[in-house]
Amino acid sequence: MNQQELQALRLMIGSHKRWDYLFGVLGIIALMIALMTFVALFADMAIHGLGRINVDFLTSFPSRRAANAGILSAWVGSVLVMLVTATAAVPLGVAAGVYLEEYAPKNWMTDIIEINVSNLAGVPSIIYGLLALGLFVYTFGLGQSILTAGLTLALLILPVVIVATREAIRSIPQIIREGAYACGATTWQVVRDHIVPYSSAGILTGVIIGMARAIGETAPIITVGALTFIAFLPTAPFTGDPPAGLFDWLFAPFTVMPIQMFNWTSRPEAAFLDNAAAAGFILVLMTLTMNGLAIWLRYRLRKNIKW
């Protein structure tokens, strides 16, 4: 190989390596754009909102004057709606996941259920709002209540819980089941004593991610007809006159954190925008904490479980 060809080859290798290096830099820049957005979003809310966050903000009702307004009814509403959502979505989702993994025969019915679960995960959240409006509000007559909102969000996060349950169950080795069956256990005994306990951490991860999504959902709740100005609290759960009064809180009108924030964001006065930032900051903090917890849990799980 003469000197000239060697030189040309070196140049080519050099330019290929440069492209390689350049793409590495491009990758980091792209990641930085995503991460900087995250930082900018967080910082922007903190700068505008932190000044408004104090005990009064958490314990006051919304008001026509921005300085007196607070998020009491919003966060109480969010907590109550989440309570209904969790009560409905967790048992249903786990049961469906267990059925699909441990019971379901391989037939067309199972195929239909599986296709439906994966399809529902891709349905836009506002469609769930329209479903709730037609079904819960007008057909079942549940009204624009905490119960309606909670059930709507439960349907929305059901696919998340089902998929997480199935993944957690699938990672349990077959030997565990075979051992239990060999001892004469029924399917339900295997599920109750082995499958569900061993997959509980994985299920919990999915439930937390689902709840974090539900707490920030705005569109379906607006469609259902949550009010944006609520200056009272629903009766505290399970404190009314038994038996009927116990469930009064389920039928109360309500507002939730994201709706309160939306309401303040759509007002022209700057003071209300600061309120929106403060409410948004608390909301972001809540979802970040929940998602962070789920990620940490999954990380611990991957590290610690060795079958």
Binding site: H16, F23, G24, A34, Y99, L130, G216, T223
Partner: protein
């Protein structure tokens, strides 16, 4: 099972069932009841889909009895709340298409670069930190992104482009794109990681660099998975509501210019839901017709994505 039944049958004929067999009977009954209950829980998903389709179609039926389908599809005005009512879904569709296009132009290049970087270039430690971070980014409520688009990005863009109105599809679209980066990146990365190592090693053995291997071996091998990630990303953009309701403005506007305000299918539904139209009025029923259009749109995207994912699974 058969031998068990035969034995049980024989025992039945011989004498009264023993205590153990009675216990077995209740045991089986209990199993059956539990299985049926679990099946019902799984069936909720089928029920939900059926209910969505039923509600959207039956409520839209009322709407389409007053408005002919040709008007709905081809009219160029959308003024359902005015006296002189026009119902041209094209107007809302143009807003949805424009904002989704902006989002896709942001999310697909950035998401693909991030996916290639994380799958082929990044050291282990970077990947372990970046993936959860992206996941957190995807978990932020969309109302927060809406606030960010309206009060952070729009003023920023107005410094570069002073004529930009306060409500516009551009900043909503860009923020929407950033919102769907995590979906596109993580699904594409999964597809690339599923490419067998041997293909990469073959490429490296021929003297290819990492970039050459990534672009000419890994990406083509994972292309159906990557395409399905894109399509799911688009479907998210089309169904996104709050960012557009907050930052896009809600005036119906037949335009494909992202620098203008405009209403989308989703933000129109929010607008009507916030108002006080009575249920059953034609203005109110429009949201179900709009919802039906949206549902058909995302269903088409999801089916294409599902088909592609299935195809890609069979590749290896």
């Amino acid at each position: 099972m058969n031998t068990y039944a035969a034995t049980a049958g024989k025992l039945d004929r011989m004498s009264q069932p023993s205590e153990r067999l009675q216990k077995d009977f209740t045991r089986h009954l209990k199993e059956r009841v539990i299985e049926a209950m679990l099946f019902l829980a799984a069936f909720v998903s089928v029920f939900t889909t059926t209910a969505i389709v039923y509600i959207l179609i039956s409520e839209s039926w009322v709407f389409f009895q007053h408005v002919p389908l040709t008007d709905f599809l081809f009219d160029t005005q959308w003024t359902p709340l005015f006296d002189d009512a026009h119902y041209g879904i094209m107007v809302l569709l143009s807003g949805t298409i424009t904002s989704s296009l902006v989002a896709v132009l942001v999310a697909i290049p950035l998401g693909t670069i991030i996916a290639i970087y994380l799958s082929e270039f990044a050291p282990f430690a970077v990947r372990e930190v970046a993936k959860p971070f992206l996941e957190l980014l995807g978990g932020i409520p969309t109302i927060i992104y809406g606030y960010f688009a309206l009060l952070f990005l729009t003023p920023l863009l107005q410094k570069i482009y002073p004529d930009l109105p306060g409500f516009n599809l551009l900043s909503a679209g860009i923020v929407m794109g950033i919102m769907i980066i995590p979906y596109v990146a993580s699904l594409s990365e999964d597809a690339m990681r599923a490419v067998p190592m041997a293909l990469r090693e073959g490429s490296y053995a021929m003297g290819a660099t990492r970039l050459q291997t990534a672009l000419r071996v890994v990406v083509p091998s994972a292309i159906s998975g990557i395409a399905s990630a894109y399509i799911l990303g688009i479907s998210r953009a089309v169904g996104e509501t709050m960012i557009l309701a907050v930052a896009g403005g809600m005036q119906p506007n037949l335009t494909f210019n992202p620098a203008e305000p405009g209403a989308t299918i989703t933000s129109f539904i929010v607008q009507v839901a916030l108002g006080d139209l009575p249920h059953g009025s034609i203005g109110y029923q429009t949201i179900f017709a709009a919802g039906l259009t949206l549902m058909l749109l995302t269903l088409a995207f999801n089916l294409i994505g599902y088909y592609m994912r299935k195809k890609y699974r069979e590749a290896y």
